[in-house]
Chain length 605, copies 2
């Protein structure tokens, strides 16, 4: 089919036109470094012989459990397909997408600039799962404290936490944690929930920040060990992403099982999501997607991205705030407000595409558009596994909250089950997913993991990240409504420089003299932190850190290094973002576009 | 388009083939009385000049608010449409359906055998809404007691009530009604909820049956008055259906407003639904659909039918019963059980089609297949209007019930809003619906009516029916699991005769001698009741009733009259049912098939 389309890797550079060919052409115009510059040697892309009709070579499959989804096509797909007697636009586009070299923004993701040769060598040894890792998996199946010890929460998801509504019924909250009484300053435990993140306060009323090890123990998750990262590197031939090896992604559930599957050539996929926010996305919003896109390219697996435009409407408990928004956007009815959230989500999807997710392996969907059919089937199944008691316990909702909120956990759980996406997995329900998310989203997937057993489905695996600091430091939150709390992806070079110079919390000495005498602290220095998310070169980071502690590197020098990196990342993003047309936007969201989930060989050495 | 298809009213009689033409041909083979025999003079069918491309003549529109849905096509439809570059199967089928004379089983619906001339005369006077009717509308807007005074319920919907799970947490139930204490026999109030129907018990422990007037007062609905029926007859030119004029449909909400719209030529539509049950449907299941199909033909408006296969899974609270079913059907996972309910629903849809709903104006949908897009948008909007407190109050659920149940009210509410069906109404949300349902379903639509205001949508209007008696009489329930409690639509003539002779509760004397001496009571005689649902001839009914009371008509004569009518109804149904192929089944469920909602003139005299 579509033999007369542009050749696989050399799309012609015509002016964009609104045809399948035009869309494909536009996709190819994202001006990213040529494939030859890629340091991330993604095996199937650089090492496999090119397959004329598909990037997938069947000769590369290694095990029996390969993700072959042959057999009868599911009814849902057949029905959709039968509607199109002629070859559909989406099929033509799909064929082209699968042949293309689309955005590979490795600069954003931190190219694997060192260690790749060593990694390849270790990879050849092909080691199995360690006993320690295996034991951890068993522990994960226990019911964690979080389920038993609910706390009151407000909601957000990959959205800066101050955006979330403030809980108004604190007295209703069944709280096992000693809370502040009327005494002015007393010790208070930290709170980490999908809706609320608060560091602890000590007996003197001083903020103690977030103790992540404690969170992990409480949730019953597992810290990411050096062994696990070493295994990752051996198997994939890639150094862990800076966010992984420098501990922003610091905890997991069953990531070792995902590595087992990768090792054996068994299929799995990635799932992440986003509650739509205002059109200005800041860096904190996008770093998780940059990381996820990097993971996708390393593993070369399907990715599904859920845009929870429904949640945004349901979970806003601040009725006044929502009414004000409704007035501001001149929404006559609640329906118009819902449409507004939907449109915000569409803008956000363009940003997510610009993060470089693989076009031929990625499906992005808005709940308001996609919920239905096989997806809705799983929502119903999931909904029945959750009692109102469960939901109250895990999320801290009360009887005055709306029924949609209680049900929403089923909606966020459902992308964890592979048969929710028949265009990718057919009717197979035995393909697990890996979910990179901030630690506060864990409770959703904790209930999902419990329910997966009841439904006879695979449990989702998780990678947890810490919270990214605001420019003002870890005790402030990045907020879309506070211009100076974050770098926005629309900021220009001048603004980035100004924000970092004026607002980035410094770990340096109070004066230049003091800095030179006593040195600075890079661990609390925001410029150093931001740099660490993107700078792949460990030597460079060590030299900056050492110099800072010694007082030989000044705060302004540290900031200059940060500005240079962040500006490069943002500018690259902006270039990609500008190239994402509405046609590209729709192509990613086309539910009839087939995606091949079959694993390919990791290396051919 | 499709100019070369079979001519409107004379489809050719070829052997069925699986093409659009073949499907249309099959539709036409349902051997029903020819149009000339129709006593139900549905105005636009018999009196309007035939329009070559559509049954809708624009010259027939009477008012400004006509239901014209011209203007930009909604995005949802455009997207679906754009997928089909060639003319789609569904469009061809739709064009054909709109030109066809499909099942017109007027025998089932009770043809309007008398009074039609008088009705026409009155119709010419074209009277407006009475002040009394108008005042009732105002009252309907008050919050009814049912919302304030919740009772505990289990669930069913147009399904015999003993099918529903028995509530297991009676103690949790917030009941404002004085209930039985530990004393053996005391007075007990009746209970009518979507999940439970129980007659009252008097101080002596004797069952008092259901006091429908009391239910109506409690729910804040309005009894159907003779004036209202007279107005119906004047406006439509049709005598009210036997179920309406003999009081099975006995109560309403805003039915007068629907008549107002009908009078002014303003659009509205019908909505009904069904929770799927085992493949054996009995007469009690189908009478509501026969009535709805009759209403549709009188009003000539769109009808949407919701099959709540999702509800069937979510609302079954008897875990043991569901586990037993899962085992019986060899369902490995909950998903297989859900599929089982879906398949039951598909069988039920064939039965509903055989009741004679208008093919070109009817959309039937399974929630598991249709929920999504614009429909899901309204589910989300509706979900947010219902607090957990509301749902507990109205439906009597508790914290140990699942979150899906709480959310389900939003799913059953959503077909009340016209923009849930873009293929019919485009983006218009100002077209109200009329819902014929049993009185126990009223609470769903009561919350819907409250929420409609909040959402800026039209309130649904309702027609309430009483419960149909089992063969054993009003104190027993028809049950699909009790073969002898009901006439099944698959019963043959012999079985029908045997069931009525052996099991139909008789209002006659204990002995023949006593019957002749004291006479019988037709009001509790099941044979007479069943006959009254279908026999249009009031003279005949009066003569049977008079003879019975006088003792001149014997019980066996009454039963013979009933057997003759019921057998004719069932046999006609069976003939229609046999003609419903899978292609017809799918055509009714095709969400891309356009349905024209524009009203047509009622008469052209």
């Amino acid at each position: 089919m579509a033999d007369n389309q542009s050749t696989p890797r050399q799309p012609s550079r015509r002016e964009p036109v609104l045809t399948p060919g035009g869309v494909a052409d536009q996709l190819s115009r994202l001006e990213l470094p040529a494939p030859s510059n890629l340091n991330l040697e993604i095996p199937n892309r650089s090492n496999l012989p090119p397959a004329p009709d598909s990037a997938i070579s069947t000769t590369s499959i290694r095990s029996n459990d390969t993700g072959d989804i042959s057999g009868p096509e599911p009814e849902y797909i057949t029905q959709a397909r039968n509607k199109n007697r002629s070859e559909s636009v989406s099929e033509q586009l799909s064929a082209q997408l699968s042949k293309m070299n689309f955005p590979q923004p490795e600069h954003i993701f931190g190219p694997n600039e060192g260690g790749s040769a060593a990694a390849k060598e270790r990879n050849a040894q092909n080691q199995g799962v360690s006993d320690a890792d295996w034991a951890r998996v068993q522990l994960d199946d226990e019911v964690p404290e979080a389920v038993k010890e609910p706390v009151r929460m407000t909601h957000s998801r990959n959205v800066s936490r101050v955006d979330a509504a403030t809980p108004s019924h604190a007295s209703l909250q069944p709280s096992p944690i000693p809370e502040g009484t009327e005494t002015a300053a007393v010790a208070r435990e930290q709170k980490i929930t999908p809706f609320d993140v608060e560091g602890g306060v000590d007996a003197d009323g001083k903020e103690t920040g977030i103790d992540y090890e404690k969170v992990v123990r409480r949730f019953g998750a597992t810290m990411i060990s050096p062994d696990l990262l070493e295994r990752f590197e051996k198997l994939t031939g890639h150094r862990p992403h800076p966010l992984l090896r420098r501990g922003t992604f610091f905890s997991h559930r069953d990531f070792n099982l995902i590595l087992d599957r990768y090792e054996k050539g068994q299929p799995f996929y990635l799932y992440t999501g986003r509650g739509p926010s205002s059109d200005s996305m800041h860096m904190g919003h996008l770093i998780p997607f940059m990381f996820t896109a990097w993971l996708q390219r390393v593993f070369n697996v399907p990715l599904v991205v859920q845009i929870t435009d429904d949640e945004k409407y349901l979970l806003e408990r601040d009725a006044k705030k929502q009414a004000a928004l409704q007035k501001k956007i001149k929404a006559k009815k609640p329906l118009n407000l819902l449409d507004h959230y939907h449109k915000m989500g569409q803008d956000n999807i363009k940003d997510i595409i610009a993060c470089g997710v693989l076009p031929e392996k990625t499906f992005i969907f808005s709940n308001l558009s996609y919920v239905g059919g096989p997806f809705y089937r799983n929502v119903v199944l999931m909904g029945k596994t959750l009692t109102v008691n469960n939901v109250k316990g895990v999320f801290g909702f009360s009887d005055s909250d709306n029924a949609g909120m209680f049900h929403f956990a089923a909606i966020q759980a459902t992308p964890s089950f592979s048969n929710s996406f028949p265009q990718i997995f057919g009717e197979r329900d035995d393909i697990p997913c890996l979910i990179p998310c901030a630690i506060d989203q864990d409770p959703y997937f904790l209930v999902t993991r419990d329910s997966a057993d009841k439904l006879g489905y695979k449990k989702p695996c998780l990678l947890h990240s810490k919270f990214l600091p605001a420019l003002q430091g870890a005790n402030t939150k990045m907020s879309a409504s506070n211009e100076n709390s974050a770098i926005f992806m629309t900021d220009d070079a001048k603004k980035i420089a100004k924000k970092i110079k004026s607002h980035a919390f410094s770990g340096g000495g109070a004066t230049q003299e003091e800095h030179q005498r006593l040195g600075g602290n890079p661990d609390i220095d925001v410029a150093y932190q931001y740099l660490s998310f993107f700078e792949d070169d460990d030597e460079k980071m060590k030299s900056l850190s050492d110099g800072y502690r010694a007082g030989t590197l000044s705060t302004s020098q540290m900031k200059e290094a940060c500005i240079a990196k962040i500006t490069a990342v943002v500018e690259e993003f902006q270039k990609n973002r500008a190239a994402v047309t509405d046609e590209i936007l729709h192509a990613y969201q086309d539910p009839t576009r087939k995606i091949d989930p079959r694993p390919v060989a990791k290396t051919q050495e």
